[in-house]
Amino acid sequence: MTTDPKTMTRRQLIRHTAWFGAAVGFAVVGGEVISHVAGASPTQHAVGRPTLRFAQVSDSHLGFTGAPNPDVTGTFSQAIDQINSLGYTPDFVIHTGDLTHLSSPDQFDQVKQMLTKLQTPHIFTVPGEHDSVDDAGQKYRGAFGAGTRGDGWYSFDIAGVHVIALVNTLNLKKLGHLGVDQLEFVEKDVAGLSSDTPIVVFSHIPLFAMYPDWGWGTDDATQALSYLRRFSSVTCINGHVHQLFSKTEGNVNFYSGTTTAYPLPHPGDGPAPKPVTLPAGKLRDALGIREVSYTKGQTALALKETRLQ
């Protein structure tokens, strides 16, 4: 199930509707969608902010200079401005990797400086494979690894939600890889949590098999997800694929985010995941930011995708 950024799946529609808390507006239409929305929305009329809301930005690829986007600094800067203009302060902002294009020290300096312009109490990151090109993530951890464990993974709790940030871009054989140390971390990390704790997992490479022929999957993700099976709400959010995509497997909702740099082809469209050059004026339609909110008492998180403007 692919998701064109311009359209939305039924599930996204439901979420989207939920986001605006506008279920009432659809009552006249009737039908199955409405019954879902109505069933999911008993608490949506509550006034006030959601329990947790954060923004995702991904794949800024600072240092890329190719025709698909000759100004990745400009588009990333625009994404930051857009987050700063949401009309509220996100509780945190997550960058899901490929901060840099080639892991060079000046690219890390630049992305770090740009990120600090985000108006939010906390900025979190996970590395992409472009951030660990030749040193197994050493420079990445030098810039962003303070307080993390192992090769840069960590977890935290915010507003009753447990957030796990994973590193699956090291020791690649074909797919993303977590490794035994990290799997053990996940197992122990959630061991003491009650099963109704909402779980949010960040990684760069998808934790689901989006398109293994292009490396769009993680070879030992099933093991990690097995530790999360007992939780009623698990949301996995990734970057890497430079396009919106969502999938549900059992109790887990997966959401691939788009990029601020350049689009990649849809899975299997062409021989390789090569950067796509869009017609003039169309680039920003493929780039964007994501808002995510969680309201206590609801299982599903609400997502809102916004193109770069």
Partner: protein
């Protein structure tokens, strides 16, 4: 079919609503609830992440990093491997012991040349960048691009 139509109608409705909602504050900005705090599980002295903007004077941005062309310059008459369309060509190259092999990346994506046995590893090679490695002894050396590990290549070194 009917469902598809419904979805389309609903999608239009959502777009319209989105438009409407843009004119009023989003997601309860008037709420007086405090920002939630973050608790880290680890007992590490430092905490992951970093604070966002808090009125710090903005610093001038570093110039956009350019992909550095690293590695030795191409050896004239040396053995060449071209990287095109996420593939090494030739995928298997046979050279004599003592030869220097040079890889050139023609893709817009960066690639690396990383020996499976760890005996050599290029830096990230941007567009047009080259990397050279000399093979002193005979053997079969498999390598991948560590960024796109579905890319495989082999250098066979004869004695």
């Amino acid at each position: 079919m009917l469902r598809k139509h419904l979805a389309a109608v609903l999608a239009v409705g959502v777009v319209l609503l989105a438009g409407c909602s843009a004119s009023r504050p989003t997601a309860g900005t008037s709420s007086s609830m405090p920002m939630p705090s973050v608790t880290f599980g680890s007992a590490a002295s430092a905490t992951p992440g970093m604070p966002g903007m808090s009125g710090m004077p903005s610093m001038p941005s570093a110039p956009a990093g350019t992909a550095s062309t690293t590695g030795s310059p191409a050896v004239v008459g040396g053995d060449e491997v071209s990287i095109d369309n996420f593939a090494f060509a030739p995928a298997t190259l046979t050279v004599k012991a003592g030869s220097t092999v040079t890889w050139t990346n023609h893709d817009e994506e960066p690639h690396t040349v990383a020996a499976t046995d760890g005996s050599f590893h290029s830096p990230g090679m941007g567009t047009g960048a080259t990397y050279s490695h000399t093979f002193p002894t005979a053997g079969k050396f498999d390598y991948v691009c560590s960024i796109h590990p579905m890319m495989h290549g082999t250098v066979v070194v004869t004695g």
